[in-house]
Symmetry: C2
Subunit: 162 residues, 2 copies
């Protein structure tokens, strides 16, 4: 499979997972957290799925398309290792959904991020809320919703808080 | 439609068009030209489709994944407005396929590139060869093969030389 094929599958899996979990958290109150703004495409998709929720985006810097940048109150700038442990002061209450897609090509860095997220995210998620992650976060005591049709195992990881 | 949806459609259309035209030029001799290396995903796809052809890539700089960079003899570095008119010295003979996806968000710049490509590409393409372009290149006297199923009109432009 070429990198183009692989990329299309990865981005389509992201879209399909977000579309599914949007339905699953429809009865759960709380904002949406997006870890990593990047070019802003996923943020744009999230705001199309959640027009009536606050969406807080965490990233080190803003390098997105000008039309895909949150307002200052919803763009949490800084190193996520510093901002995430203090996130409740900005988000106000536990989140209905956290989406994280901040893996890099660096396996060691990814493991460090995954361990950090697995430790700090649970306190930020409402009961019944969902974490959708490109990486395995552990969270062995959370429910594991099935992935959407066509999304290969381990391409995305879904966790639902009990 | 969100930018994520739109992006998935655009990249999938590219893949579907390239897969189709690979079959259409199977009987045409000549190399493949890729205008714009970018991250190298499309180059990687082209070399999976054309394992036995030379593929020449034109770009101003190399910013691709290390595994998706052509060797020095096939990476034509420089401003395409300068390199393309002199391309025959590197490619050796007319191309079976030219793929171009170098549009930007700038409509005026795109129009200038499209006019330039429409003027210079025809001399670089073999009879029966194909140009697949993200932009309308004019070329009113060329055949216009139908797009693959599911690719919306004008998302890609296919031209076949008579």
């Amino acid at each position: 499979m070429s990198r183009l094929d692989s990329f299309i599958r990865r981005v389509s899996a992201q879209r399909d997972c977000l579309n599914m979990v949007a339905g699953m958290v429809s009865g759960i109150n709380g904002p949406v957290l997006e870890l990593g703004l990047g070019n802003g495409r996923t943020f744009d998709h999230l705001r199309s799925l959640f027009p009536n929720r606050e969406i807080f985006v965490f990233d080190r810097q803003v390098a997105a398309h000008p039309e895909c940048i949150p307002d200052d109150d919803h763009m949490i700038l800084g190193d996520i290792f510093q901002t995430l442990p203090e996130a409740m002061q900005w988000i106000g209450g536990p989140a209905a959904l956290v989406h994280t897609d901040i893996g890099t090509g660096d396996a060691e860095g990814n493991a460090r991020i995954a361990a950090f997220l697995g430790h700090h995210l649970p306190a930020l998620v409402a009961t019944g809320g969902i974490i959708a992650s490109d990486q395995d976060l552990g969270l062995d005591d959370w429910k594991r919703p099935a992935l959407p049709d066509g999304v290969p195992a381990k391409r995305y990881h879904l966790y639902r808080k009990n």
